[in-house]
Symmetry: C2
Subunit: 413 residues, 2 copies
């Protein structure tokens, strides 16, 4: 029996494929600091947990496929607090942000059509592209250039007759970049000029540092009917396991068509939809603390990386990720080595190799993504262990390779 | 901006598209008995609701993409009670049965390939086929023939070089049929002979009457690696809003590849996964009562239909649906008319037009699906009102049409 081409060509989650090595390490009694996956350690707000416990109905029924109307209203209220003006009818509840991503790809593109992405990018988009038959066309952004978006003339070189959409994740996973408004303005011009859909994945909107306020692409009037906005409470309210997200659009065609997709899976989980209503509409009390905490952590990771000779990274502006180039030959080998061979006082660190955050083969080989989802004490330790691990790892790298690496890194710095 | 062809070609849910008319009726003060949708009215088991309330963790994290291992074990334990022997590693938790259906289509077929379905069939498969680019090839089964599967030689006429899979929903939604073992044996032979995947949607397994025990296709040794089994607790445990289902297979390739699909949406809801573990592994105390209740209801609906001159239907053997041919010209018109024009003592009934349960254009025009999801008292009233409605509706049908209908129905009986 033959598995379909589309699924067999999918790659296993890069964030999860090294987990078996971590499990082996743990069996040997080694503590593993997990910096590999975006699972926040911060407690889910009590308001949500008590709403779950207070679920009063006798039957847990399907909700409306579009989501509970009170939740759609609450989301509209929340959006208004960040100056995004959407009606409840312009918002559909999805089962996590992931479902909103899948539906966006299905809505915007036919199989074989192209979506532009800035690499490195959130690797699940690769899987979703395989599922939907969409071609991803990568435009590389570089750590040395602060992961800034290239000039429009550069981006335009990648536009073909098959290009239908462009993806902007802001604040960015995995780079931690918050795009300045003028860059988004350029994207809007480009989208208008070429008639492209804009997929605005803004799930990390609330996690920004030093008063950064990410602009929303849906607020650019000239393209407002072209934008599909994705949001989620997973990270912002530390409620990943709740699976509550949304897809929003000012284009009634998008909503009417997306509703058919929503109907095909009947409904999102009822209890969680109800549970987030109250907090969602005015989350600042919770998110202010969240922001401060992640900011502190970002500084620990950033300064930890600065202490590693040859490491290259940029100060994160938002989300809870950083991409770092490390003085190593191959980050997949390194991640495995850290789990199989290295420990410091019975402790080691797991980060995510960055290769799979790129669509261009060969890119990102010496880069890793760090998710700072540990408390500051543990994070400090983890960064120290990472540094010691790299120094130890380098000792067993072939001599010539080390010399080459040193050269290339000093050229960068 | 152009919405993709695949999504624009999807039809809006036939089960939901007449809801606006029901809402207008309600605004006029008319009570609507909903027999149109499979949302059980039976209370969710207290064991599940208290497990929800007892959720103790401080963070609601992503679970493993494959599902919580204890839940996979519980599902294996449940399967063993119905003589299906599967290891936890052969079971992946999905966000409702719907997600398992979507993943099955993605796994088994490439775009443009064909899956055979016996029509009338659960209409969501149409949407899922559009999403995945799969062609559905319908083989019609008829109420006059007790919705029995045609001879293999008849079925084989529809097999083309592009055929990859065959769908068997057992117990059947929407017909209420439970297939005899010898018919499933025939399907197994056919699948073996032509190397077809078999999608065995057995979500209604526990809802069967008069000691019917539906055989599972996964128990036919000769095709066990070809079968993908879909299950769900939505109907069996009246937990539709929990969104917990599973996909099972004895083919390790299916599981390994499906896991990549699971990873693309990270995880199913955490709280509900935990909440169903305890009851799932031994649900008979709950399901025995459920079975009795639906059996009673099936008899009310069946005898109610018998009292309608010209109505044709078969006694349901399982699930909680019945397909009935009614002495009317067009069931879509009729459903709308019942909501807009008819009421008896300020009450009316909503059923689902059957047209959209067929893939062949023109089929099912005079048929409806009734979901018996009301208590016996209400159901008796609803069936009486349906009968009165039909009699009244017939009065405004053109004379010739009525004469033709009478002729065709007396030929059937």
């Amino acid at each position: 029996m033959q598995i379909s081409k589309r699924v067999s060509e999918m790659i296993a989650s890069p964030l999860r494929k090294f987990i078996p090595y971590a499990e082996i390490a743990k069996k040997k009694g080694i503590k593993v600091y997990h910096l590999n996956i975006g699972q926040p350690d911060l407690p889910t707000p009590k308001k949500i947990l008590s709403a779950v416990k207070n679920f009063k109905e006798k039957v847990v029924p399907y909700t409306h496929s579009a989501g509970i109307i009170e939740l759609r209203q609450a989301w509209a209220d929340y959006f208004a607090t960040v100056k995004i003006h959407l009606k409840p009818a312009e918002i559909l509840i999805t089962t996590g942000g992931s479902e909103a991503m899948l539906y966006s790809l299905l809505l915007m593109l036919n199989p074989g059509e192209e979506m532009m992405v800035f690499e490195p990018f959130y690797s699940n988009y690769k899987s979703l592209a395989k599922i939907t038959g969409v071609q991803l066309v990568p435009v590389t952004v570089k750590v040395e250039e602060n992961f800034s978006l290239p000039k429009n003339s550069e981006i335009e070189k990648k536009i073909s007759p098959k290009t239908r959409a462009i993806l902007i994740v802001n604040p960015n996973n995995p780079t931690g970049t918050v795009y300045p408004k003028k860059d988004l303005q350029r994207i809007a011009l480009l989208a208008k000029k070429h008639g492209l859909w804009v997929l605005a994945d803004e799930t990390y909107r609330e996690i920004v540092f030093e008063n950064a306020r990410p602009a929303s692409l849906i607020n650019f009037k000239t393209i407002e009917k072209q934008v599909i906005l994705i949001d989620s409470v997973s990270k912002r309210l530390s409620f990943c396991g709740g699976r509550i997200g949304c897809l929003a659009s000012k284009n009634p065609e998008v909503i009417a068509n997306c509703l058919k997709l929503n109907q095909s899976r009947l409904a999102s989980p009822t209890i969680e939809q109800k549970a987030v209503i109250q907090l969602l509409s005015d989350p600042t009390k919770y998110t202010d603390g969240l922001k401060r905490e992640y900011h502190k952590r970002s500084e620990i990771v950033y300064s930890g990386l600065q202490k590693i000779p040859g490491a290259v990274c940029r100060k994160p502006q938002g989300a809870f990720y950083i991409i770092a180039r490390l003085p190593i030959d191959d980050s997949e080998k390194f991640v495995r080595w850290m789990l199989e061979r290295f420990s410091y006082r019975q402790e080691t660190v797991m980060v995510a190799p960055a290769k799979d955050f790129y669509a261009t083969p060969g890119k990102g080989t010496d880069e890793v993504r760090i998710a700072y989802v540990l408390n500051t004490t543990e994070l400090k330790k983890a960064m120290m262990i990472l540094r010691l691990g790299i120094l130890e790892y380098q000792k067993q790298m072939p001599k010539q390779m080390k010399a080459d690496l040193c050269k290339s890194f000093s050229a960068v710095k």
